[in-house]
């Protein structure tokens, strides 16, 4: 069998048998395929939609098109080499992936992260949250026909990526968060640039609101469209802004504070009815709250080391290699074999821009993890699409999908 015909056979193996059949001329159902390559699906997502006229009667999301087996790859790498792999899962929340993995490994090792490293982590995590929400806001507005929003959002995103480049040398997939702390201390000039951004961001968010919230078209497309109540969301395992839009103030940064989130004063925005408008407002309000956290973390940034001084885990400073034999041995051991982690299992949940991002790590005592699993919020949240868009217009399906904010890299991993 040639590869081409094998590919066709695979396509045909997707059955439509469980779709309801049409009932006479007036109720004829149409099955429409959307994607996998479609700008409105925010990635390589395929939707099989059963339509009655313009009304969505059933929907099947088909995923796996960008499955690259990252979890399998991680099992073949030493712990510190896993970080760049997991960062590529949810490609808009790379700091969060690294944070969840490093947090899990730190729990297994039982090491303390220095306060300065925790604050630096918080600064970068919240910058990443703003960045992720900006991409969401720009592309969602684009789906609703607001072209200019996209450029404004990407302008601010560019500032954040410049900050990432300044602190770590990379714009995306920065590998900044390390086991035991962060890669490097922030460079000179970073704090002034960040302070300027913190000052600017709320006015920018005000401008987005002025552009969108008075706009009749946006309001009609979002208000009372595709609501879903709190209980259904909870039973589906949905977390993050989608759950908060339905009125449940569940946020792991408040409920189970990690990385000194309990030091900061911020609010959890919640919605009331859980429609698309609430989802939009909750994420928009989070832009302000994240800015507040960054401001406080920058002002209260403690002095001290940026990574744990435990030489069994973190690389010794470069200058020590020339003078200390012990440092040289540690350096050699760390870059060749990596550090060993005592056997155990741990599940480390954090609040990503899309909900609970939990990293499960099983260590077997060697220098490579025996299992790495990411509970990616997009993967679970995608299940809420069907109850949300059932009996809604197909145009609202596109708007709702944008408001769910699925990241296919995280869904397929």
């Amino acid at each position: 069998m040639s590869a081409t015909s094998d590919y066709r056979r695979r396509e045909e193996s997707i059955t439509l048998a469980s779709e309801p059949a049409g009932q006479g001329e007036t109720h004829e159902l149409l099955t429409l395929n959307i994607g996998p390559h479609h700008p409105a699906t925010h990635g390589v997502l395929r939707l099989l939609v059963t339509l009655e006229g313009e009304i969505v009667r059933d929907l099947k999301p088909i995923i796996g098109y960008v499955h690259t087996g990252i979890e399998k790859t991680c099992e073949d790498k030493s712990y510190w080499k896993v970080i760049p792999c997991v960062e590529r899962m949810d490609y808009l929340a790379y700091y969060f992936n690294a944070m969840a993995f490093c947090g899990a490994v730190e729990t297994l090792l039982g090491i303390e992260v220095p306060p300065r490293a925790q604050y630096l982590r918080v600064i970068h995590l919240e910058l990443n949250r703003i960045m992720s929400h900006l991409v969401w806001l720009g592309t969602s507005a684009l789906d609703l026909g607001a072209m200019s929003m996209f450029w404004y959002c990407f302008r601010e995103r560019e500032t954040i990526l410049d900050l990432f480049e300044m602190s770590s040398g990379q714009r995306m997939h920065t590998r900044y968060i390390q086991v035991g702390g962060v890669m490097e201390d922030i460079p000179h000039g970073f704090d002034t640039k960040l302070a300027a951004f913190v000052k600017e961001m709320p006015t920018r968010a005000d401008q987005y609101a002025a552009l969108l919230e008075q706009n009749e078209i946006v309001l009609q497309r979002l208000r009372n469209v595709c609501p879903l109540d709190e209980q259904t969301l909870l039973s589906l395992g949905v977390t993050g802004p989608l759950l908060r839009a339905a009125g449940n103030p569940w946020d792991l940064r408040k409920a189970q504070p990690y990385s000194s989130y309990d030091h900061f004063d911020f609010k959890i925005p919640v919605g009331t009815v859980g429609d698309n408008y609430d989802r939009f407002r909750v994420r928009h309000a989070e832009l302000y709250e994240s800015t507040k956290i960054i401001d406080q973390a920058l002002r209260g940034l403690p002095e001290g080391p940026f990574i744990t001084p435990d030489r069994k885990v973190s690389l010794p400073p470069r200058h020590e290699l020339a003078t200390s034999m012990e440092a040289l041995i540690h350096h050699f051991k760390l870059v060749t074999e990596g550090f060993r982690v005592p056997p155990g299992e741990v599940y480390y949940p954090i609040e990503s821009p899309r909900g609970e991002l939990g990293c499960f790590v099983r260590a077997d005592g060697s220098a490579k993890p025996a299992r790495v699993h990411m509970r990616d919020p997009s993967f679970v949240n995608l299940q809420a699409t069907v109850p949300m868009v059932k009996d809604a217009y197909i145009a609202d399906l596109i708007a709702t999908l944008a408001m769910i904010d699925p990241i296919l890299g995280g869904i397929d991993r």
Partner: protein, 169 residues
């Protein structure tokens, strides 16, 4: 997390309801795990759900090769009011990898259970639509098992890879 004593109390109550349901408990790194008998895991989860652990945060698989029983299914439960987590683990043998589905308790377990089936080959009895989710429908083998090799596989363009443009080595 419940502390070590709290975990023992929960395990005691679960054993009271059904003496065979709990095989053991592990408390490590602040993580409380109930090791449940795979035949009775559904009732264990149902009792924990009634106890307040009403949110299924995560469901994932794990291969404990070469230990037996090899395959593990882990349920991370969360009590949102007490902010308390507990995990339930059920281990099954590779040749009898069957476990009861919990989609009736948490509809959100649908995709995660399909993922565990896809990656480890654990069959969830009672699942409404147990198909592969991330791998192609006609894929053979369960790639996350520890004895599944890492390596290249033929794709659509492999058959004429040698004479394709850019293949200069």
């Amino acid at each position: 997390m419940p502390d070590a004593t709290g975990l023992e109390l929960i395990a005691h109550d679960l054993r009271d309801a059904d003496s065979e349901s709990v095989l053991g408990t592990v408390f490590m790194h602040g993580r409380a795990t109930v090791i449940a008998e795979p035949r009775l895991v559904h009732s264990v989860l149902e009792r924990l759900k009634d106890r307040g652990y009403g949110f299924l945060a995560s469901l994932h698989g794990c291969d404990y090769y070469p230990e037996e029983p090899r395959l593990g299914v882990l349920y991370e439960l969360l009590d949102m009011h007490e902010v308390d987590r507990i995990s339930v683990k059920a281990r099954v043998h590779v040749d009898a990898a069957h476990i009861a589905s919990v989609v009736d308790l948490w509809p959100g377990a649908n995709h995660p259970e399909r993922e565990v089936y896809d990656m480890f080959g654990v069959v969830f009895d009672g699942h409404p639509d147990l198909r592969r989710i991330l791998m192609p429908e006609d894929y053979e083998g369960f790639p996350q098992r520890r004895d599944f090799p890492i390596g290249g596989e033929p794709v659509l363009f492999t058959y004429n890879e040698e004479n394709s443009y850019g293949k200069w080595q």
